[in-house]
C-alpha cells in the first residue's frame, strides 16, 4: 500500500518543481514551492509508517522486547517541516505583496530589473 504514498509524494514534488519552472505568476510560483513541501512531508510521514503498528508510547524495557510500532521520529520531522514550509509560504507571499506594490505586476517576466 505504501507504494501509492511514495509515488504520490514524488509526483507532488515533480509537480511543484514544474509549477515553479513554467508558471510566470509569482503567486503560482509560491504555490509551487508549497507543493514541493507537501510532497516531501507526505514522503517523510510514509517512511515512518508501519502497517498495523501501535502508537509509539513505550517504556525503555518494552522497546527492547521487540514491540511493533510506528516510527515516531518521522512524525516529529514532518511537524517541523510543516512549520518551516508555512513560514516559507508566509514570507514569500509577503514579498509578493511588496513586489506588487513596487512593480505593479505579478508577472515574473516583468520583475527583472536585476539582470545581466
Amino acid at each position: 500500500m505504501m507504494i501509492v504514498n511514495y509515488v504520490a509524494s514524488v509526483f507532488l514534488v515533480v509537480l511543484g518543481l514544474y509549477t515553479i519552472v513554467t508558471k510566470k505568476n509569482i503567486i503560482k510560483i509560491v504555490i509551487g514551492t508549497g507543493i514541493v513541501d507537501y510532497g516531501i512531508n507526505l514522503f517523510i510521514v510514509s517512511i515512518g509508517f508501519n502497517d498495523g503498528g501501535t502508537a509509539p508510547i513505550f517504556k525503555m524495557s518494552e522497546i527492547l522486547s521487540g514491540a511493533y510500532f510506528v516510527d515516531p521520529v518521522p512524525q516529529a520531522l514532518t511537524l517541523t517541516s510543516i512549520v518551516i514550509g508555512a513560514c516559507v509560504d508566509a514570507m514569500a507571499l509577503s514579498l509578493c505583496i511588496k513586489l506588487y506594490k513596487q512593480y505593479k505586476t505579478v508577472n515574473a517576466d516583468e520583475i527583472r530589473r536585476l539582470h545581466g
Partner: protein, 638 residues
Amino acid sequence: MSYIHFPVLAVMLLFMGAFLTVVFGRHNQGVRVGICTVTSVGAFALIAALIKPVMLGGEVISYWMGNWSPVEGYAIGIGYEVDQLGLFFALLVVATVLLSAIYSIKYMENDSSLDFYYVLFQMLAGGVLGLVLTGDVFNMFIMIEIMTFSAVGLTAFRNHKWGAVEAAFKYLIIGSIGSSMVLFGVAILYAQCHTLNMAQLSSILSGNNSPATIMAFALMFTGLAVKAFIVPFHAPAADSYAAAPTSISMVFSGMVNKAGVYGMIRLVYIIFRAMDSSALQMLMVVFGCVTMFVGVTMALAQHDFKRLLAFHSISQIGYVITAAGLGTALGLTGGLFHAMNHTLFKGLLFLCAGAVLKQAGTTNLDQLGGLSKRMPKTTICFLVGAFSISGLPPFNGFASKWLIYQAAFAKAVESGKIIYAFVTVIAVIVSVMTLASFIKVTQAAFFGQLPARLNDVQEAPTLMLVPMWIMSILCVLSGIFYNVVDKYLLAPATDAAINVTNYIDTMMGGGYAAAAGVRNIAIAPAEFSYWNPILWLVLFIVVLAAAFIVMITGKSDRGEILCAETDVEDGKYATFFSGEHSLPSHVAGSDLFWGFKKDWKKYFHVIEGLHSGIVSDYALWAVAASAVIVIVMFGFMR
C-alpha cells in the same frame, strides 16, 4: 571539561540575543547594539576557547541535547559534535559576525526599524554557527532554513530601494528549492539507515551504497550546492549580495556561502566518504571550474561595485569547490585555506564598498572617481583586498592559490589525466581576469579624477575603519605566516575531514568505527616549498633600499618632489603634462576593457542573456542542474 558546553552555549547565546532584542530592543538603539555586541563577542570568545582543546589537543567534542546518548549503538537524540573541520568554519563564522557587528553600528545608523535588523542578524549568525557545529543531518536542515530565512529577510531589509525585494524573492525561491532537496535527501537517508546522526551515518554508509542512498546523496549535494551558490544556482546570490546592506553582504560572502561549502565538504568527505569516486571528483572539478569562469567573466561586465564583488564571491567559491573536488589532502588544504582567505579579503572588499556607499552615496562605478584623495585609508584597505584576491605575493590569496595549483598538478600526475592540468590554466586565467576587474574598480572608483559632486566626501568613520584594518592586517599576516595557519588550523581540519575514526568514536563510543570497518589513512603534511624566510627578509631590504634611492634622489637639491596640490593656485600645476586641464575627463569603469570585450562579444551576449533576471529561468537552471547531478551520480557512482 566545562568546555564541552561551549558550542551549544555559543549557538544559544546568539538565538537568545535575537529574542532579547525583540523583547527589550524595540525603541532603544543602545540596548540593541549592547545585546548584539555582547552576543557576538560572547560567541567569539566561546568558540575561540575551543581552539586549544580541539585544534591543538586533537579532541572532538560531543554533546547530546537533553543527554539522550546512544542506546545499543543507535543515536536517538540530537547531538552536537565539534571536530576540527567544524571548528575551522565556526571560527570563520564568529569572526565574520564580530567584525560585521562592529561595522553595522555606524553603517546602519541612518536606517529605521533597526530592531528587525539586529534580530535577523543574530538569527543568521546563530543559524550558520549551528549548521557548522551540529552532528545531526535534520538539525542541519533546520539550521539551513533558519539561515535562509534570515538571509532573505536581511536582503529585503532596505525594501524602499529598488532591487531589494526582487532579490529577496529570487533568493527565497531558489533557496527553498535547495532546502527541499536537502530535506528530501535527509528523508531518504533516514528511511535507509534509521538514524540522523552524521557519525553513525558515516559508519553505516561507508562502502555500501544502495540506489536509494545515491539518490539521497545527489539530492543533498544539489541542495548544499544551491546554498554555496555554485554556478547554475548562483544568480540569486549576485542579486542579493548587491541589494543587501553591505554589512550583510559581507556576512553572506563570508559565512553564508561558506556554510554551503562546509555542508558539501561534510557531505562528500565525512557522511558519505565518497571522495574516492573519480566521477564525483570530476563532477566537482568541472562545476568548480565553470563557477570560477562564469563568475569572473560576469564580474568583468558589471557596472556596480557591489554586484561586481558578488560575482567575484561566486568565482572564488569555484576555486574552493575545485580544490575540494580534487579529493586529495593537499587539495582540501588548499580549498580550506582559500575559503578562509576568501572570508578575509572579500569581507574587506565589501566593507570598502560599504564605506564608499555610505560616504559617496552610490556604488555605480560610472559615477564614482578619484576617491583616493578623500578616502585614503579606505583606498589602502581596498588595494590590500584587491591584491589579495588577485593572488599577488605576498598576500594570502597567493598562498592559497599556489596550494591549489600544486594540488591540481599533483592530481594530474597521479591520475594521468591531462584535464587536471588544464584546471591550472583556467585557474590562472581566472586569476588574471580577477586582477583585471579589480583594476577596473581601482581606476573607476578610487583613482582618476574626482567629480565635482564628490568634492566634500569624508573618510569613513573610525568605527567602520576598525574592522577594515583588522581584516587587512589578517590578509597580510596569513599570507606571510601561512605555515603557522597551516599547522594550527588547516592541517587539523584536513585531517578531520579525511580521517573520520575519531569523529565516529567520540559520538558513538570507542571502537564503533573500527567495528564498522572505518580506518584512518595517513596524510602527508602540505609542503609550502616556496617558503624561505631569508628571501622575504632580503626582499624587504631591497624594497627599503629602492625606496630610499627614489626618495633621496627625488629630494636632493638637484630635484625635489613637488606636490601639485599645495601649489594649486599656480597655473603651472593645474594642468597635466599631457596639456589637458584638470577638468573632469575621467575614464570610468564601464568601457575600460572594451578591447577585450569586443573580442568576446558573442560570449558576453550569450552569458548576459542567460542571466535574464526572471525567477523561473533561474529555477529552470537549478532543476536542470540537479537532474544532471542525479544522472551523473547514478551513471558513475558504483
